[in-house]
Amino acid sequence: MEFINSIFGLDFSVIRDNWLFFLVGRYPNGPMGGVALTLTLAVGSVFFSGIGGLILGLLAVSQRRWVRWPVNIIIQTFRGVPLLMVIFWFYFFLPAVFGKGFPEISTVLIALTVFTSAYMSQIVKAGIEAIPRGQWEAGVSSGLSRRQVLWQIVLPQALRHMIPSFVNQFVSLIKDTSLAFIVGVSELTHVATQVNNRTLNYPTEIFLFIAVVYFVICSAFTALSRQLEARTTSANANR
């Protein structure tokens, strides 16, 4: 650390002095924040948008037009609006529906989930459409229902192809949690801004530090999913 300090003329003591604040925000005296909140938002929205993306994707390729059309309209709407807008919009929309005091963190979680689900649905849709039609025809002619063909033949193959695109989308999602700051949710970026605005003299150190933290979180997630991917493909090869 001393070495880096002396070379670039940087002073990372601001990180050391505010270490706990970067990590957990005002917790336990106030709401949780910092890295802990960023991770919570990331894990939560990755989980829910995985499910949401799958559901929306399946509905989007439904054979029934009255299912497919509205779903596609919803998907196109959210894909056509900046995420910042979606968060801001939900921030004022959700309390109007569910009453005052709807927590900001849930708002952000829902906004991230809905937005990312819309993107994920397109991956799911493409994945399903990439499976040759012959498999559908073969399945149906051997007496399976379309549903059985979907769940037992098409999806298992399609999902495996989707994994890299999923990971890509999730990494993007982890970084998108930084947009939560606009509704006053103290995730890592917001916390960094608070410290920066108080100390005023160390913007380089502070924002370099949080860039590294985001990089580490995203890399760790990518490495984890590579392992998962390797395991599912080898399990398939052994079958």
């Binding site: 002095d17 505010n18 706990l20 604040f21 925000g25 005002r26 005296n29 106030g30 559901i55 509905l59 439904s62 029934r64 009255w66 299912v67 509205p70 779903v71 919803i74 921030y91 004022f92 929309f93 959700l94 309390p95 109007a96 529906v97 005052k100 005091g101 229902s145 549903r147 769940w151 037992q152 999806l155 298992p156 606009i182 509704v183 006053g184 103290s186 917001h190 801004t193 608070q194 410290v195 920066n196 605005n197 108080r198 100390t199 005023l200 003299n201 913007p203």
Partner: protein, 283 residues
């Protein structure tokens, strides 16, 4: 992979329901409006939610040791919560989002260096002024003697603030750059992107005190407006306005208002100022 097998008619009904419910919830949400009587709500839930600045010493900022939001505005919020006998919850707001948050009921009060002016008073109700300051500039030392010296300058300030408006009126030829918050404007000043940063003197003093090369900068005695700060309350909430006002007046008469001022702006503080005002029912 397995899945629950519904008969296909049931399945199609479920799918229809999912689509229908999500559409309805989106449509109805827009038409629902929030209801009135914030004071009653506050007492019922036992918590007063106050929107404050969290990055603006000494009005509201996160203390390094306690990791809590502290400052002059926060002490005002504490006094109101104490008067009501409820818990205090602080929510960070910015100059740009504080009024939408108030009108949507995300916060009950806004105590965030909010200048009272007639334009805003049409949107929200204000308490008596709890702080009085004036809009000035931070500039490089010795460069600015009169307002003319800033005539065509690039001037930094914060989005959605009265400072942004005032400077455009008093220096129409100047180029005003609005940043997210004042510290970013100060950074721009240090990097030479702007020649001056303008906002209320009390905020400028706090910013100047933190600047690394502060001896190179100064706040010349050029005031372009008076800025009385008020506590903002949703329009038509008379009960809450009365409680807030009586709290402020009691603080003045008991000497608490003096103490709070001395703590954040006294001679030993980072940004010493003189208390040139009293909280009265007139302002």
């Amino acid at each position: 992979m397995t899945c629950i097998q519904f008969p296909s008619k049931v399945q199609s009904k479920i799918q229809f329901l999912v689509v229908f419910v999500s559409l309805i919830s989106i449509l109805t949400g827009i038409s629902l409006a929030a209801h009135a009587d914030v004071l009653g709500d506050v007492k019922k839930k036992g918590t007063l939610v106050v929107g404050v600045k969290d990055s603006l010493p000494p009005f509201g900022y996160v203390d390094e040791k306690s990791r809590d939001i502290v400052g002059y505005d926060i002490d005002m919020a504490k006094a109101v919560a104490k008067k009501l006998g409820v818990k205090l919850e602080l929510k960070p707001v910015t100059s740009a989002n504080r009024f939408p948050m108030l009108s949507e009921g995300n916060v009950d009060l806004v105590i965030a260096t909010t200048t009272k002016n007639p334009e805003r008073a049409a949107q929200v109700d204000f308490s008596h002024a709890y702080f009085l300051t004036g809009q000035k500039f931070i500039v490089a030392k010795g460069k600015v003697k009169t307002l003319q010296d800033l005539d065509t300058a690039r001037i930094g300030t914060a989005k959605g603030s009265t400072s942004e408006k005032n400077v455009a009126t008093s220096l129409p030829k100047a180029k005003v750059l609005s940043y997210d918050d004042y510290p970013q404007a100060v950074l721009a000043l240090q990097q030479g992107k702007v020649q001056a940063v303008t906002t209320d003197e009390a905020i400028l003093a706090g910013l100047l005190a933190k600047m690394p090369n502060k001896d190179k900068y100064e706040i010349p005695d050029l005031k372009i407006s008076d800025e009385p700060y008020g506590i903002a309350i949703k329009k038509g909430e008379k009960g809450l306005v009365d409680v807030v006002n009586s709290t402020l007046l009691e603080m003045e008469s008991s000497g608490d208002a003096d103490k709070v001022f001395a703590q954040w702006f006294g001679p030993n503080s980072a940004a010493p100022l003189k208390r040139t005002f009293k909280i009265t029912a007139e302002k």
